[in-house]
Symmetry: C2
Subunit: 230 residues, 2 copies
Amino acid sequence: MSVNAAIASESLTRSVEDYLKAIYQLSPEGRPASTSEIAHLLALSPPSVTGMVKRLSEHGLLEHVPYRGVQLTDEGRRAALRMVRRHRLIEAYLVEFLGYSWDTVHEEAERLEHAVSDTMVERMATALGNPVVDPHGDPIPTVDGSIHEPACTALSDVPVGETVEIHRVHESQPERLRYIASLGLRPGVRVRVLDRQPFDDLVTIEVGGDQHVIGRELGHVLQCAREGDQ
Amino acid sequence: MSVNAAIASESLTRSVEDYLKAIYQLSPEGRPASTSEIAHLLALSPPSVTGMVKRLSEHGLLEHVPYRGVQLTDEGRRAALRMVRRHRLIEAYLVEFLGYSWDTVHEEAERLEHAVSDTMVERMATALGNPVVDPHGDPIPTVDGSIHEPACTALSDVPVGETVEIHRVHESQPERLRYIASLGLRPGVRVRVLDRQPFDDLVTIEVGGDQHVIGRELGHVLQCAREGDQ
DNA sequence: CGGATAATTTAGGATAGCCTAATTATCTCG
DNA sequence: CGAGATAATTAGGCTATCCTAAATTATCCG
């Protein structure tokens, strides 16, 4: 059975879909993902990951070099991008039509992405006017599996004095997202970097008239577009 | 752990949810359901059903008298009605907002009913204006688990000469539903019974100026409200 | 270079669900 | 009533997925 057939006939299990999406998200560019990274992201034990990785590589969805990591094959990447498209479109739909806010959509989408049909995904896309990004600013892959990841700079890396626009907010925990929103930070918002401490990458920013100090962790959650980017 | 806690914490698996819903649907009134009825409805082997039934009865969701059949407990019935509510609301939502027709919603709802959160179900209900019936005319249970099954008469049992209104269409196969729709039959439509043959319960009906002969099977799929009903 | 540490894999086992084949219970009817 | 038919259950197995504990490999550093 070809993998295309496998994908088309929806024969991938929830678990498999989760693994593929996780591996893609660990490195959209295709760098090998390690067993422990995958295990951590999926909240599973490393031996479980090794076991599944073996099965997936037998099915041609990824390549596994023992002790070295895994990389998605074209088929695996296609299946992963299909899940990413679903997830992000579902998030957008829930926010637009069912009153969800960006901190609560992730969990719901995480379950729905395995249950909706391709038909339903495309109807949601149509209802939304075929959006290009989701509520967190993440780009939505097209049906044919292409995705444009625009060049981004972590807020931590923006030079002092520059004004940038927040493009993406790489976070899924509801509590953290609410905190971020409480600072007035969300995709599309413009931020000016006022200062950077010589320790810990702490940057002081100005957004909507308020000033905040941002640490390294949050500074990498907030991905910005500089003038030179793109 | 109480069953309420079990239900609340979503600890029921897809399979368990399917079994409970199936048993409820085999007899909303609570007559015992047989192993083979359940197996047939869920497309499983009878031994599989016996096995699951044992587990469910250990968990207090149903009572099993060996060789005699099973009946849902209050907790089991509550969980089943929760699934029925989900299913029917999802069907209504898909038809209203995502361009589905009544012959295609069932399959989609069958998957989604296990994946949506209670929150999402209630938001869909709100978006729909808290509907009382689904696209097939089936009543939607309330959140607290009550349901009003209005008295219905199978079209096959309607006396000749009477005019009745179609209330419910008890069918889920797309092809059959399309056929029914092609005859102009759907909930709310008024039908006059012109004739009944002395064999096979064949009835001739008039609907929207056309005449059709309806056999026993379809005559029971079409549930009608007579003057005396309710 | 070799040994400690960290990462990974192997070994062995559990659980949920499903199946077929064989057995047992119930029912029906002459 | 008892024999055959039918329905249900038990017995025994399979697959997917997960786990912990033990063994192995890779890496890094003195």
